[in-house]
Subunit: 416 residues, 2 copies
Amino acid sequence: MALIVQKFGGTSVADPEKIKNVAKRVLQKQKKGNQMVVVLSAMSGETNRLTDFALQMQDFPDTREMDVLLSSGEQVTISLFAMAVKAMGDDCISFLGDQVKINTDNSHTKARIQSIDSEKIVAELNSGKIVVVAGFQGVDENGNVTTLGRGGSDTTAVALAAALKADACEIFTDVEGVYTTDPNICNTARKIDRISYDEMLELASLGAKVLDIRSVTFAKKYNVPIHVRSTFTETEGTWVVEEDKEMEGRIVSGVTYNRNEARITISGVPDQPGIAAKIFTPISDADIIVDMIIQNQDTGNGLTDMTFTVIRSDYQRTVQLLKAVIEKTGANGGIHGSDAITKISIVGVGMRNHSGIASTMFNVLSKEGINISMISTSEIKVSCIIEEKYTELAIRALHDAFELDKDNVPEEESLT
Amino acid sequence: MALIVQKFGGTSVADPEKIKNVAKRVLQKQKKGNQMVVVLSAMSGETNRLTDFALQMQDFPDTREMDVLLSSGEQVTISLFAMAVKAMGDDCISFLGDQVKINTDNSHTKARIQSIDSEKIVAELNSGKIVVVAGFQGVDENGNVTTLGRGGSDTTAVALAAALKADACEIFTDVEGVYTTDPNICNTARKIDRISYDEMLELASLGAKVLDIRSVTFAKKYNVPIHVRSTFTETEGTWVVEEDKEMEGRIVSGVTYNRNEARITISGVPDQPGIAAKIFTPISDADIIVDMIIQNQDTGNGLTDMTFTVIRSDYQRTVQLLKAVIEKTGANGGIHGSDAITKISIVGVGMRNHSGIASTMFNVLSKEGINISMISTSEIKVSCIIEEKYTELAIRALHDAFELDKDNVPEEESLT
């Protein structure tokens, strides 16, 4: 008998009929002899509806009250789900974040799970019930409702799977799994059967929206096998698991992109100790997140250029802020930038053992006449900032060059 | 400095704009130097929306899950209210039933409040905050969400006022207070300034929908002055308070009616000990609530008639059930009844000291040619079952006969 955690997102529970379908699906899995824990999001659209209400109240809604408001969404879906299961003749009980309980810190709207008291769940599972838990929500040490932020239901599911030592955590979504790249851009994109936590982390943080990054971190930490699959088909999806030999044989696993950044360059910055701090402290104080930072070598005149990227919606605000900052630093070359950029990345654990991957990427882009304005690398990825208009061209060229349309990894027995 | 509990129903918080208006109103009262605790219902229509969802899941939705579902409604209004207050520059904190906490028994969908742990509220009030509490909901000793049933938010408000020893509990509604009778039927109906708990209890249980009956019971038990008033005007409403001398001077306080009952007569019932139990035990086992019961004197043939009323929606079911029952009892006169009846009642604490009130009522009805099919009396009320078609006529005639259009009580200083 296996213990399976299944998570269904908002589109899978968008209305009563869809909730019934999810209940059927969970029951089928249970009938095969599994203990089932189900994690649900709010109905799709509900979070936006409630957020609209909140914005009519306050320009910047109080975060504690925002959590009280938003957590009502899953409360609706889990209770309806439990009813659906009972109507089908099986037994089911729902738990809210503070009933399970899912203990978090007190960072409202972006709380982090600290521990899970899974005693109640285990007792109900052992009595033969299906247990359905509200995703996305928790409770802090003072009994305040907290939420985990967008995508938080994935984290709830993985954290529960870890706490319960579940055999697998299945994340149901509206796509069939993790793809080598965006199938809407590249028609030879291929579903990946197995991918390592580290690769998934890079893909998630680089813009692939299939899995929330924190859930992957959790899964890696507690070695929870995640199965990302479609709510609407029975097809096997993508397993996110520990790295193995076969994965290393694959040099590049995927090509991903992020259009959500903007690039800013400050020219003629005096090349002195402490200059970076002078520039980035006020930016960080303004809660602006900086991603890539590149400082060019001083070319001999005691001046340097500093280039970095921020989230696109922070672009104008950052430029305004920097105007005041550069006066203090003595920078004289002005501020330049663009919010029409894309970050293109290739990801693969195989890069660790193969050289020349980055230069292959640069050559592919160069052949297509695409200029690279920034480069950043890690052990298992290479990212390049390019002009946004080349996004699709770059993706297709890289996908082709690294032969991602071909499955270079021998098939392995499936985990289910 | 007074401590005031204010409760606003679903129509008062039906949308973001209305919630803002409520927030303004509460702030005005606070600025006058009062500590404010606010109890809110769900947005009007929300309970029906959620109930519709539930009925799509299960013909008889599981009551534990129903409570999880329905309690999401107040969660939305209290958080939005707190945001509204904060946007107006004041401070506010929301509490759910399990945060306050409002401890109830485990009778899901109709739980009863057992105790209130008001420590958190007091602390927040003393720190200068407005406290907003979810009406209608509580928590049982195992941490399950419970709800108090329709009208439960009134009970929450009064129970909180009792626990906090509040100076007053203001129940805001869409009417201006408690009337001598239904103004839609009788255009001389007059708003009552002050009414006793006992009278209000009779009026509430007899069909007046202004206040939930349990809230009045609570208020009486803990001597909480209730002020029923309109959300949409500043007019003083009706104070529901302990009985006083002036109230006794008023013989009849109000005329009320209830169209929601049906009458059933079983004829030719053997007049033997235990016969009532034989008839009513199966009815009670079927969860059918019986209101009035009248058994006529045995007229000499060893047979009697038994007449009683049930809730109208239970009429057909009760008749079906009785067919099996009367065979066992040997009743031979058949079952007769009608679901086109109305219970008309007059209520007043003054009746205790005045005789002849009942006969005045009978005479008034008789003069209008209205036949009385059942009579029931208590210390402070007389109820008659009449044909439904005479409802309006009976109300107007009684209102007129007891001169309820005139305020027979000397004006007294208002409590605010």
